[in-house]
């Protein structure tokens, strides 16, 4: 599990990138540098949160997009759709109409991803260990963030299967008769879920046969509904598993999880808030908190990078729908879940996630120590204004890159303007060759 090489779903479109530094400054793990005038994303550090794509003014960050034609590989096609998808459409369209269009696109079965929450409840799923506070693993970008930036908190991550995984196992179990002709497709609101699915060896890779981006499906459904308005006005369609509970429908909203926990719980959304909070939490010696819900996107999954509708409107829509849902799952549906219990025996918890030690300056500790000292000395001569013109997000990041021989001190524009000769001799002191060695800066200028 721990040594999976992570797949990434975000790519820079070089033709569109102006090297403007917006993405570099926003990246929560410091994974982006501007090199030769273009953004470059480090595969080691990227957590696929999509912040770079959200902030890019030039639409120069692309997200992987698989076509709907992938459905044709299977005779029976199951869509595992999170509720926020249905909240993307305006009030004038009903869930029934959207469902009818999804079946027309080619799905034979549609399960609400949130059904997994009710399944976990019915099966009385429990954590293997109960670290305090327990951190939800619902948001994959947060999980990756913790593995990279907060190694001391990795042990606090929940190990229960995610609701979407549980729903996939359930659907596979109910529809087992279709065997190999059954394909399971997950609808994703964000880049992190794509990355998870495309990482070979991951649970998502094993459980799902394909992934469909919210916006791709949104467009297809909208086109159908617009072209054949009358036909869809009277069409009837429903979910394969007809209901979820009220709490399940609200699960992906902020406080959707924390408000359903026993004991003291807290919800934090939006990446910079999550980071501010995790910084404190990792230092905290003792805390009375029992559960933490951390969402990378503002307002939770409705704020995902692939969503179409305003996140506040989508939130309200889901809350509104949830008021018509039962608090408890009806008896017949509970029994339907229990009938598939065998597929979940010893299958509700995942292996413990491992920290990814990528913050180290060198694998060899004595070299890492030397580099750490070097960082200190270099930082002392840098201007400390974090302008980003060198192509690094901060002066500290430049100092670290220079210490790792991944950048040149000559990239510092401020030092260059102030005293080019002095800069040259400083660069020599740090062991850089006099001229073209640090040619990166010259390319940028």
């Amino acid at each position: 599990m721990s040594d999976l090489s992570l797949h990434h779903s975000l790519q820079v479109i070089n033709e569109a990138c102006k090297g403007c530094t917006h993405c570099m400054k926003r990246c929560p793990t410091g994974a982006i540098r501007i090199s030769k005038g273009k953004a470059v994303i480090s595969a080691d550090l990227c957590i696929d949160c999509g912040q770079c794509m959200a902030v890019c003014p030039n639409h120069a960050i692309r997200i992987e997009q698989d076509p709907l034609s992938q459905l044709q590989r299977f005779t029976y096609r199951v869509g595992i759709v999170p509720a926020p998808f249905f909240a993307q459409f305006p009030d004038t369209l009903t869930v029934t109409q959207v469902l009818a269009a999804l079946y027309d696109i080619g799905f034979t079965h549609i399960y609400l991803a949130e059904t997994g929450i009710d399944i976990l409840d019915v099966l009385e799923a429990e954590e293997k260990e109960k670290p305090l506070p327990l951190i939800s693993n619902f948001c994959p970008a947060v999980q990756r963030l913790i593995q990279i930036r907060y190694p001391l908190l990795v042990g606090n991550l929940s190990r229960l299967r995610s609701p979407a995984q549980v729903t996939a196992i359930f659907a596979k179990s109910e529809l087992a008769a279709f065997g190999e002709s059954l394909g399971i497709f997950y609808f994703t609101p964000c880049a992190a879920k794509i990355a998870q699915f495309k990482t070979e060896g991951s649970e998502e890779h094993r459980l799902f046969d394909g992934i469909i981006n919210f916006d791709t499906a949104y467009n297809q459904v909208s086109v159908l509904l617009a072209r054949e308005k009358e036909r869809y006005a009277s069409k009837q369609a429903g979910f394969t598993f007809p209901h979820c509970t009220r709490k399940a429908l609200r699960w992906s909203l902020v406080k959707g999880q924390s408000s359903n926990q026993k004991g003291r719980a807290l919800a934090v959304d939006e990446m910079h808030n999550v980071i501010e909070f995790l910084d404190i939490l990792e230092d905290e010696q003792e805390t009375s908190l029992q559960f933490l819900e951390l969402d990378a996107c503002a307002e939770g999954c409705v704020g995902g990078i692939l969503t179409v509708r305003n996140r506040f409107l989508a939130t309200e829509q889901l809350r509104h729908w949830s008021t018509n849902l039962p608090k408890e799952l009806p008896q017949d549906l509970t029994e339907r879940i229990l009938a598939q219990k065998h597929s979940f025996e010893n299958n509700l918890c995942l292996d413990a996630p491992q920290p990814k030690q990528v913050l180290g300056l060198d694998k060899d500790r004595s070299k890492a120590l030397q580099k750490l000292e070097k960082v200190d000395r270099i930082l002392a001569v840098l201007p400390g204004i974090d302008c980003g013109l060198c192509g690094c997000p901060s002066c500290l990041a430049l100092a670290q890159d220079v210490a790792k021989s991944q950048a040149s001190l000559r990239q510092c524009v401020v030092l260059k303007l102030k005293d080019p000769k002095e800069l040259n001799s400083l660069a020599r002191i740090w062991g850089e060759r006099p001229t073209a060695a640090g040619g990166q800066m010259d390319d940028q200028a």
Binding site: P151, V154, G155, E282, Q285, G360, L369, L372
Partner: protein, 140 residues
Amino acid sequence: MRQEYLVPAQDFSVAGVASSNLKRLLKQLNIDPLTIKRIMVAVFEAEVNVIAHSYGGRIVCDLEEEKITIQVIDTGPGIPDLDLAMTEGWSTASEQVRELGYGAGMGLPNIKKNCDHLTIKTKAGDHTHITMGFSLKESI
């Protein structure tokens, strides 16, 4: 490599700043998370001790390939009875300090529990000099 942090007396708002800065350095040295955690707990406790009980002091960290040595040196007034201070639950913290959630008498015992070597030099009316050693050999 040596790193020094100043710790002011009576200012609980900065409790944890030194240990947090040290943590940032340790993460860059490929030290396993459990060892970092031990170091953090011990240094944080020592930091709080300086703030709560002393006239101020400093934390001197020596980072080496196979061991981390951390000295916590304050400017007084010293610990009158060290054996008592090492007893879990025994505390001389003022009411004011306890109201802030500190002073449960776990400071020195917690430090001892988390480090590999510990020496404490102190005398009533004089300064206190704590040296904590952490071995990095078993990690990685």
